[in-house]
């Protein structure tokens, strides 16, 4: 293989074939994908959850993962948040001419590890190479489907007054890592992305507790924005307890320096679980039994006090609005 990805690799000719057979099938291949038909033949019936996402993260490599593993985790998690078992994925690469072949190989291998761990098959794919400058290094789109195993499926409009609000672990890790790596900032303590596939934990949770009302992963916009979406859809109020929010000291420190709020930073390996109060403790036990949920805790309660709003009860016992993020967070002057 040459050192860089050339436009030839997207031509559809022999170079493309070599790339597909050696790199993609070599790492991601399975009985269905290896057939290289125009479409995959799948056994799907009943209620199915389907989700698509495009990954354009900068930088493409970061502590705790890279764009390849992230593209799997993001879509697997989105499908699993519907109370579904993710089964199949598609994956489309758009690669900038000149990307080092070694980088592409690392990304594909990391994607292969992620699908294996998640127990998902990539059954259809696409590769395009575009001229330099047309995209930034590499973009990946993934689509996933899975069987919904609970009825009704958890949904953002199903939160009810009196429900407990749980989080599966610490928040802000991924967002701060990406920002710090992008800007070349050295934090005193190491921060790394929490990118992970949550499907096994989520499946256990909904199998044992089908009463779960809402499951959501607080990705872009962070915990605060995701909770605002839920309170708006469900027309209830979320009272969050500031003292209970799990945030690593190094994330707090990094955010403090940059003037950012960890509540608005993206997470890629955490989920919010909203369910009737009576099941809260059992849900926490299930979550804490899994390494990906070991720091799970209760962070708030749904009430009918301020419908559609998220209210933060501060460490001092005061209350304030926790609104939705407007645009992206920007570092401040002083």
């Amino acid at each position: 293989m040459s050192e860089k990805v050339l436009l030839d690799y997207g031509s559809g000719g022999r170079a493309s074939q070599r790339l597909i057979s050696q790199l993609f099938l070599g790492n991601l291949g399975n009985d269905e994908l290896n057939r290289l038909n125009d479409a995959a033949e799948l056994a799907v019936s009943g209620r199915v959850a389907m989700s698509t996402d495009s990954f354009t993260v900068d930088p493409i490599f970061f502590p705790g993962g890279n764009i390849g593993s992230l593209a799997v985790h993001g879509t697997v998690n989105d499908v699993a948040m519907m109370g579904a078992i993710p089964k199949y994925m598609t994956c489309a690469y758009i690669i900038e001419e000149g990307l080092p072949m070694d980088d592409l190989e690392v990304i594909v291998k990391s994607m292969a590890e992620a699908v294996e761990h998640a127990g998902v098959l990539i059954v259809s794919g696409d590769t395009k190479v575009v001229p330099k400058g047309a995209v930034d290094k590499i973009f990946i789109n993934t689509t996933g489907i899975g069987d919904i195993i609970v009825d009704p499926a958890p949904s953002g409009d199903s939160a009810r007054s009196g429900d407990a609000v749980l989080i599966s672990g610490t928040i802000g890790d991924h967002g701060l890592t990406i920002l710090g790596t992008r800007e070349g900032l050295d934090f005193e303590a190491e921060v790394k992305s929490d990118s992970a596939a949550l499907n096994h934990l989520l499946v256990r949770l909904v199998q044992e507790l089908p009463e779960v009302h809402v499951l959501r992963d607080p990705t872009r916009g962070g915990l605060a924005t995701t909770l605002n979406e839920i309170t708006t859809s469900s027309n209830v109020c979320c009272e969050l307890n500031e003292n209970a929010l799990p945030i690593r000291p190094e994330v707090k420190g990094g955010c403090s320096i940059l003037g950012l709020d960890p509540l608005y930073l993206a997470n890629e390996g955490k989920f919010i679980c909203i369910l009737p109060e009576a099941h809260a403790e059992q849900a926490l036990e299930i979550m804490r039994a899994d390494p990906l949920g070991q720091d799970a805790c209760r962070i708030g309660t749904m009430t009918d006090a301020n419908p559609g709003k998220v209210v933060l009860v501060t460490g001092l016992g005061g209350k304030r609005l926790l609104g939705m993020l407007e645009g992206e967070q920007l570092p401040r002057i002083c």
Partner: protein
Amino acid sequence: MSFELLEKFRDPELCRKLLDKMRGELTDELRFMEVCGTHTVAIFQSGLRSLLPEKIVHLSGPGCPVCVTHESEVNAFLDLAGNERVILATFGDLMRVPGEGRRNLKKAQADGARIKVVYSPFDTLKLAKENPDALVVFIGVGFETTAPTIAGTMKMARRQGIRNLRVLCFHKTVPTALDALLSDTAINLDGFILPGHVSAIIGTDPYDFIAEKYGKSAVVTGFEPLDILQSLNQMIEWRNTGEAHVANNYTRIVGEHGNPKAMEIMYEVFEPCDALWRGIGMIPGSGLEIRPEWEEFDAKKEFGIVITDGPALKGCKCGDILKGIKQPDECPLFGKACTPADPVGPCMVSTEGSCAAYYKYKLD
């Protein structure tokens, strides 16, 4: 400072004691101004606003550097964003600040302008070296907190022989603005929560006139709830005994005479000038401009930029808000024609802006 230590300044039990003390000693209304936008945000973020007695009236002052940036200064840097020679370097705060016709740097960037958000003015040195064919222009907005670092960057650029760096200097100084506010009889104030960051550079001496000339109290204050509550209690106590003082309640960061080294660097490169403040107008001697000896870095000279006053935006009450005459939600545009998504003025988009804080945090 470690977070463990900071947590001590957020101790709920101590805060409750100070709040109880305040309620016991507060006989009538206390109108104080938190000069610095970070204090406004801290009062909301900590939930203090919902816990303070109703007789405590807090007014937001002209201490958000973005908010006091004059319309013509905003238009000047937005005009530069269209210049093909220029890479604009800025702190993130300015990206969404609206200028004439509600244009802003975000929109300019989408139109192709080269704009780089930097975390430190020193980042502009690297940017200039990496782009030898471009002119890197740093937007120098801020108070005494940021000016020394920018002066230091210019000194470093000269030492390194960097010739393609310019600074668009719109710096302003805080004590002169407070003097102008206190001399305005329309403004009814009992005291100031003085800015912690600015004071770390200038110390407390430049504020002495507040007690001596105007008989008002002022306390240099940190940004934790206990800092703020202690300063308010001090001012209540002095008012009850008919005294007026300027005190430093942030001794863990602010020395009596500030940071002489930073001041020296700042005044080596900059000199005082008259400056236009948004919503307030011209305040003599309240700005900083680049000294003639450093004019090779002066973007105003390079591009012939002249800052002129003009009519205020129709309906926008930011002048009254920055002077503590009106609260943000008393502006007729607040939350209607002016929101963070579509702001009329910078007070609605700056992270330290009082209107943004009210919109973002106020529950009722």
